[in-house]
Assembly symmetry: C5
Homo-oligomer: 310 residues x 5
């Protein structure tokens, strides 16, 4: 147990030893074990975007075992997926990589202006599959947001009671927000705060832009001169919004980017801003396996380097 | 236990021995026992389309026992029906054919643009009737899709906990889709993926056309040159969408087709594409009994022949 | 136990001895005991239509005990009513007549185009009152139909688990149907099928007309030349739609008819068509007691005569 | 135990000795003990109409203990109020007056055309506070009526199982009714019937007018020449609608009336018509205490006099 | 135990010793211990208004421990916050300050005309975190008000059963009210009464203005000459509306006010009017720490001075 991991676990004083053990499993697994940084492979795009769009660019990825293997060989801290995908590999890869069961999902067949998520599995599923955490998506800004918050609260209480950790994917979206607002710095910061208040141990958001969506927020950003010019600035602000950095915030990898430099620049900015790591899906499994492993290694090199902040 | 059945059971590593036993009962029953292929008689049309439309073309079919008998004599792997119909024959035919209780149903009295299903029975019903599986219909694309996913997830968890297998009828439909889109290759592939992610052991879909419904999907199909020209191509793609063929996908028989050659050509294409079989309702029970038995035998001959793919 | 009752009980092979015992109580009670025919007194009109409209034509009927007494003295097989009315007489008449607790009710204060029913009592109420069955109304064709089917399914499972029998009043109604469609032969047949699939032991419908509501159904009725010209033809078709006559279908008596010949002609047609009997409310309790007893006796004479079909 | 109370308890043959004991506590308490008549003090106007409108005319009434004291000293059979008000006095006045916990409430901040009620307490609250009964308001005629009926049915079953009695405030209201229709004789009669069918032991309604709201009802009232000209006639008809007088029907006192003669004339009419008493709120607590006690005594004198009907 | 605290506890005669113990913990903690007055630090603005707007004016406040420390050093009676924030400090500050878990929350990303709250934690969370009370927000006047009342009732019953105290934040808001109406004296009085009737032990409202929103209320205020001219008058009326002062009513501190005199004048008016104290969030944590401590001390000085009323 490294001092940094011990420090991080110390932030979760309200949790049971069972939940801390599961958080420690994630923090102490893979290439970044002990650093306090996390690179997690999330594969829910088959459900969220459709199988052909997600998997056809790299056909071996149609097989769930491909992703388990990629997470193991890539040295990821964990692997996150919906029920069916985890069921398809949990026995073959038992004990090889910490699992996060994504309990909620949606699809893109519909294009509702106020998106929602369905609960597609339960805590008992996570326990029987040997997961160390469960995860949900919330859409702050959607007309369904309050129902999602409540659902998360109910499941999080059950998860913690059973010694699991809780991830929240906080994706602002819906009729209350413009398209640009979905990644506005004020909105991402707000989403992170909501997830933290809902009791998440780990929060995943998209990288924020310098756009400010709400007038009432803009006044404060300007008055207080909150630095948001660079990506690192914004990452730093976002982690501040998660209880002054005392909750783990990680960032999504976004759509497939063929230009590795651009992608790694983002990782450097996350690292410089004090972010805790990445959930990197499409940029992992939509490349050829060797490329993905190389990219993951390069990312982990950055996260393993001396932290610019903490 | 044939090697092929053992192989198939190996795909379901997250399931209990109880559920595997029930899957094995289906795979090892009837004319196709041991082949890994399934021909199942589904009779829910009395509920879904009305009794006269479904049964009047072959009046003996009004009697539930007719269908049990047809499934038994026809050598089907199983018989699927709603609660009432199974209750009407389960004692008389106990042990003669594996049963699948269809837990959800709808009717066509209404013609809502966003269709939904009612839960019309429960897991305890399946257990008291000696069923080996339960089944549901989902309508991806309907405004009610998320509620249906959640309902399936709740029941599937209970079913697996009780050692039952889970079927999902995945029928894309609703205000998000055009009529052609209901059987579009991208949409059927997506529906199969959703069902697999929801934890289905067996997935039933309609045969897909070469139509592509969603622009975002079309770009990928074209870019990746996914073969979808022939029916066998499309079946192959659809089984890929079910965890690279590691979930059982079977196809519906569609409306009554008097031309046997057309029907058998479809079966040959399913077989050639690596599909796992058929659920063949109206093309079974809307014919005279001898014709139905002949047709079932001809289908099974095809499925029992050397598999073009696996 | 007559052979006919034994035969009927044989249709319910999925039910527990407890439920069969309760079905037998109904079939072996009153003037028609042992015949396999049923005349049941249903009194829910105070709730469904209002007390003055229902009871003022025969003021003694305001007293719940009047109906218990009428059912007993009239030799009815059973007495069906909502919670309050049964509570008001169940102790005084304990053991004198089988009771059916109607679990759902609605009123006519509102005139919603898509009617619904409220669950107004539960299985535990039925058990404490000594009932042998519970009953519900469903409105196939209403926008609320799926919710009603689900409610029925939940309660029916609990009822069967507790050894009770299940009645369904299947009254097509709602925005999907024209007024004539509510009693159209295709729609009544469909409603009976739905009730049978939901697991009803006894199904009550209105007498169907020769009208056909749905085009898709009309094509089949014409193509298959299903006889529907006479009321007996239609009754026969409706009982076919209930698992080829293997579920008990009874018919409502409709509004008060002063012309006894017309009413008894309907009974003769039900009998000739193989119907299992009547639920006869307003035509019983809206007459003077002696007239009602005479009418019930005349009806039972018809049902007790040699059955034209079975 | 007087013969009259014993007779009334005999109407509730389906209830447990526990519930009968609680009904007897109400019937045998206060000035009217043993007469079979009830004068109950209901104080929910702070919630239903607001505190200033309800309590400012008599400022001591802001204190919950004022109402307990008024009910005790006034010799009322019981005291009915929402949770908070009962909690504020139940220990100080334990055993001094039977309590009825009003489980549902609404407010007048909103003016929805289809009113609804919130469940604001539960059966366990009633038990811990030592209540002998629970009560609800239903709004027959509102678009929410069926949901309210179901809620009442669920709570009433639990209440009876725990030996409590059940009151229903039946207040017709909502988009299906005109303003005059809310107190129309046909509608009040219908509301009483619905409450009785839902299993109420005691039903409270407003005094009906001679207006008839529904055409289908008017035809019957005219054809059967139901007497509704005088208030006593109407009270008699309304009690008939409650199982021929075998359920306890009491009447609300309405808004504050400064003219005592008018108020007492209403009481005389209730008494003459066979009504069982009054729930008299604003006409009790909006007067000075001595006036209220005088008025209550005058009312009870009337109810204690020889009953014109029973 | 001071006589005043003993007196206050005496108002809650329906509560268990467990709940009284927890109320006493609040009343006997901090600088105002034993006075019967309460100054509580509430920090839910990160969720309700967003982190930057709430916390950037005083950056140390991003850290949850800042608020625990401020509550402890400031001598507050308690500290109220949502789940996540309490989880982040409950172990480090265990036993140092009484905690109130705010069970419901909303955000301002949306601007719905009928606001609602999500349940974001449960009673079990409060117990595991060592809280002495739970709290909710209700929005009387919103189309969702009845659902919120019901939710509060359900949780309050569970809380009391587990020995916790219950706070209600009563914030009138929604389509039934004008903006001015949200703090109108009649509406605030009504909101306090509703909260008291729902069984709250402590009620928090905004300071009322002299505006009267509803015509029916205005008539009474004028007729009864209820004094509402000064803030102290209005506070006195509002505490009257809480069972004649027998429920604890405290007032929110509102938006950040830089002019201390204005703020303290409000406190003096609350004190003069017999209010029980303040929940003072933004005026505490949006200042520099020393300023906040000074302001809290000044407020407490006022509340600790001889009470003008009780």
């Amino acid at each position: 147990m490294t001092p940094r991991v011990r420090e991080i676990l110390g932030w979760y004083g309200a949790d049971s030893p069972g939940t801390l053990t599961n958080l420690a499993r994630l923090l102490n697994h893979g290439r970044l074990a002990g650093t306090g940084k996390l690179v997690i492979l999330p594969v829910d795009q088959g459900f969220e975007h459709g199988p052909a769009r997600s998997l056809a660019p790299n056909p071996p990825a149609y097989d769930p075992r491909y992703h388990f293997g990629l997470a193991v060989e890539g040295g990821c801290n964990g692997f996150a997926a919906p029920l069916g995908l985890l069921e398809a590999g949990a026995r073959d890869f038992a004990g090889e990589v910490p699992l996060i069961l994504k309990l909620s999902n949606s699809d893109v067949l519909r294009d509702d202006k106020d998106p929602d998520q369905a609960l597609t599995a339960g805590i008992q599923d996570a326990l029987r599959l040997g997961c160390c955490a469960i995860g949900f998506t919330i859409y702050p800004g959607s007309a369904h947001e309050l129902a999602m918050y409540r659902q998360v609260a109910l499941c999080a209480e059950e998860a913690k009671r059973n010694g699991l950790a809780v991830f929240i994917w906080a994706y602002p979206r819906g009729s209350a927000l413009s398209k640009a607002g979905e990644t506005a710095i004020d909105v991402i910061g707000y989403a992170v705060q909501i997830a933290a208040q809902l009791g998440a141990h780990v929060i995943k958001v998209k990288l924020p832009t310098a756009h400010i969506e709400k007038d009432a927020a803009r006044a404060v950003y300007e008055e207080q001169s909150i630095p948001i010019a660079t990506l690192a600035d914004r990452v730093r602000h976002v982690t501040d919004c998660a209880f002054a950095g005392r909750r783990i915030v990680i960032f999504s990898g976004g759509t497939m980017i063929s230009d590795n430099d651009t992608l790694l620049d983002e990782i450097r900015a996350i690292h410089a801003g004090g972010g805790f790591g990445s959930m990197i899906g499409r940029n992992s499994f939509q490349r050829r396996r060797e490329d993905a492993l190389g990219m993951l290694a390069a990312m982990m090199d950055i996260y393993a380097s001396a932290d610019a902040r903490s």
